[in-house]
Symmetry: C2
Subunit: 545 residues, 2 copies
């Protein structure tokens, strides 16, 4: 604008404008192509999603069927067991409970994966189909709108072109009128200059010489000046008229320029954005819902599976040898129930059913009692030592078998290369040399435990027998000191009894005493075993504690 | 004991005893059988667990392979896309991101199920094998211990049997000695009675008559009494001796009875319990560890899967049309970038590049400006109405497409009968009549939206153009009032300029004003588009907000 060295002519300006418009037109075409491509990609993506979920539904169904078969294989086995009571009995054992829950879990997972497959087919895929339909329809409609917007834009550019050309035309006219005016002005100036020179020559010293010629000349010059002035005025009017037209045309051009730039701005900044919004209308939201349906299904599956695993974990926590032992004993009550106590059977009406601890056997019994006592204390000390060793060994075994080696988190921490998964996992449990060593150690310890166990049980066997004898002796001897009955007296008492048939008070109280204290535990056990399972349980545990 | 009506004899007592021992022996046999059975069940259970996990490992591997294939099928497709830059570009779009994460998740699950399968085969199954070996060995050893304990118990019972028989023997001897003694005592009494009678007959009134006979008789009687006395004494001694033996035998019997009952008690209450403990040694703990390994594997799988689902959920949350639009525009920057602004091109060195608003065009322009203003206010009101309707319609569509219908929890709430699963699930999404209705409604609303949209865009088109013209007119007219330059003056100014070639200050300030205020937005957009993507983004969003 500021460089006047070279004025731009119509053709140049038009050529530049054409180039600019051509570029815009090319962009508009590309924009449509770009939207078409996005539409195609979208349709392709939705098709892929449908194919993906269709195939995954098949996989889930396959998986479900396999799990179902697996569960059925073992459940059928249980069902075929004829003795249903036996089956019921076994179920109370904690390992069997774990096993049943494991099978339940497989059945549950089978069912859940069927549900998943069904949700894929009958909910998620139809959603993608809908999104695809909607997308296609919206793209088509949006493209129509876009085409209209582009057409409008091109109209604006054409308008600009025509007003620009009008401006060029009127400006050219104005320039031409201006130059014609300038020419007239020059001629006028020239004519005025001539007149002044001639008047300068004519006027001095000879006022009347050839005045007619001068007047005639003056008249000719004056009409020429007038003619030129008239032409100049005419050209001035023409220029003013053309100049106004040019100004108006330039104004129109400037206004059109403003409108065009605003329209282009609007199209690129607002229209294109709105157009893409139209294409996207509901797409993201619908896709969101379809994928959330997938997530909901997966999370429900996960929750269901987790519930099952919780149940199994609970059962695993309740794996308990002690309660299983009690349940087993209850189950086979008749097999594990202690038998009737052996009672004293009086031979041929023998009336003395108690230990006789009077002279002459008394001193012998006293001595025997003392011997038993000293032997028992030695035996007990020895067996207590064995027991301690045995229990320490048991603790070692417990430590071995309860080592917490079951965390497999490491196996799920993959390195970046997926190929290395297999080798990592396989080595975790079996190939560790420490495991083999631990097992050898476990068996050795176990062997030692059994040796000590046998030793301890033998000792306890002997102690039990001797203790029983010793206790009876001690009790009887303690009583016999208080009840001063000699063998002689007793024999007469026996004779008296023979006739009266009554049990002497002394004997009666002895029986009561023994049954109340000496054999209390056994009698209780007996009573409980006969009166029902439940109470016996508590007794067993009391004994073991 | 108290019923003397019938004395129990040896045979009777022995028979009763035999019956009682026979019952115990039968129980002991049953106990061993019971332990054998438990051992067999345990081995069977462990075998079942191994078979179960072996089969499940196969199923998991199958599942894993199918998932791998599924993921590869689609990933291969992406990989085969030649234009990697294009692929990279597409990945920034939020739906494509979801799709990629979906495929990643399948790959992750495939890998995790392979790991699971591997843990089953190489960790869990070997554990069950070990538990099975341990169980068998322990049962064998425990059975030996049990056999020993039973043998010991039988020994005690045999001992009781023999001391009981000894008691019977000595008691029989004692009874027999007692009866012989009684017989002797009776004879003695009889003899004493005879002597007294004879002496009563002999002594009154005839003291010397036949005294020799009496003395002789007396002598005979006396020796007979002595003989009887001697016999009685002998029998008394015999009885005392036998009685003592019987007492001792009874004492031994009573002591043995006590020892036996204590041993039986110990065996049933303690030994059997210890024996079962020996069989169970480490069984529950090892089973616990094996099952915890299973749980650890399942929970790790669950966690891994959940992490993947979280990533997908995050991507679904980030499904966003606005940012995708921005990314698309960045991606195709050259296609969506606004073109160069159309500049005023002065024709043939035309120096006036601004709107001319002096007389004589001024009044015309003023009028035109007023007309534009009134037309614009009408158009704006109308278009605002259209916009409101359009936006309300859009909101309706948004409400339809964002309805939260994706929760499938119901599908996982099974009724007790598993058969009814399929029908329930299938009906959830597609067959609901409300869905069809909703879709019809959606499309109708969409159609209406597009109608309003087109109407609005047309209005905006017109408003943009008229507004641009109006603004330029208003601005120029405002300035021309201040800068009082008439057409006439101007034309002379132009002429002056023609010679000086300098832009007048007025024009220069006009240019600056317009470029600073009037076309500010557009210029800014232009600058940003040229200076880089990032800043343009913020501009886009500014414009849309």
């Amino acid at each position: 604008m500021t460089s006047p060295a070279k004025f731009k002519k119509d053709k140049e300006i038009i050529a530049e404008y054409d180039t600019q418009v051509k570029e815009i037109r090319a962009q508009l075409t590309e924009q449509m192509k770009c939207l078409d491509q996005q539409c195609e990609l979208r349709v392709q993506l939705l098709q892929d999603l449908q194919d993906f979920f269709r195939k995954k539904a098949e996989i889930e169904m396959d998986y479900s069927r396999n799990l179902e078969k697996l569960a059925e294989r073992f459940l059928a086995k249980t069902r075929s067991t004829k003795d249903q009571q036996f089956k019921k009995d076994q179920n109370v054992l904690s390992p069997v409970n774990c096993w049943n829950l494991l099978l339940n879990q497989v059945k549950r997972e089978s069912r859940d994966h069927t549900t998943l497959s069904d949700i894929y087919l009958n909910n998620i895929i139809p959603r993608f189909v809908q999104v695809s339909e909607d997308s296609g329809r919206l793209f088509k409609k949006s493209k129509e709108v876009g085409q209209q917007l582009q057409d409008d834009l091109m109209k604006v550019l054409n308008e600009l072109y025509s007003v620009m050309k009008t401006y060029h035309m009127y400006n050219a006219d104005s320039i031409s009128a201006q130059s014609k005016l300038k020419e007239a002005e020059k001629q006028e100036e020239k004519q005025i200059g001539k007149s002044v020179k001639q008047e300068d020559r004519q006027t001095p010293r000879s006022p009347d010489s050839s005045s007619n010629v001068r007047i005639e000349e003056k008249h000719v010059r004056r009409s020429s000046v007038k003619k030129i002035e008239k032409m100049k005025e005419k050209r001035q009017a023409k220029y003013t008229e053309n100049k106004l037209k040019a100004i108006k045309a330039r104004n129109e051009y400037l206004l059109a320029l403003e409108a065009t730039n605003a329209s282009v701005f609007k199209y690129y900044i607002h229209d294109l954005s709105d157009l893409i919004d139209c294409c996207d209308l509901g797409y993201h939201a619908s896709l969101n819902r379809a994928l959330r349906t997938f997530l909901s299904a997966e999370l429900n599956l996960e929750q269901s599976k987790h519930e099952g695993l919780d149940a199994i974990e609970n059962a695993v926590e309740n794996l308990d040898a002690t309660s299983d032992k009690q349940r087993l004993m209850e189950m086979y009550n008749n097999v594990f129930c202690p038998p009737m106590k052996f009672e004293f059977q009086p031979h041929m009406g023998d009336m003395a059913s108690q230990l006789c601890a009077q002279q002459p056997v008394q001193s012998e019994l006293v001595q025997r009692c003392q011997q038993l006592q000293s032997r028992l204390s030695t035996l007990k000390i020895e067996n207590e030592e064995v027991k301690k060793t045995m229990e320490a060994t048991l603790q070692t075994i417990q430590d071995i078998v309860t080592v917490e080696d079951f965390d497999v988190s490491d196996c799920f921490q993959y390195s970046n290369s997926m190929e290395s998964v297999k080798s990592t996992v396989s080595e975790t449990f079996m190939s560790k040399p420490s495991i083999a060593k631990r097992r050898a150690n476990q068996q050795e310890t176990e062997q030692f435990y059994f040796t000590k166990m046998k030793e301890y049980l033998e000792g306890r066997n002997l102690i039990t027998k001797l203790q029983a004898k010793h206790d009876l002796l001690q009790k009887t001897l303690g009583e016999s000191q208080r009840t001063d009955c000699s063998l002689a007296r007793r024999s007469s008492t026996v004779r008296k009894q023979d006739s009266s048939q009554a049990i002497p008070l002394v004997v009666e109280s002895c029986i009561r005493f023994i049954s109340r204290h000496g054999k209390r535990d056994f009698s209780l056990a007996r009573i409980c075993a006969e009166s029902g399972r439940t109470s016996r349980n508590s007794l067993y545990s009391k004994h073991r504690d």
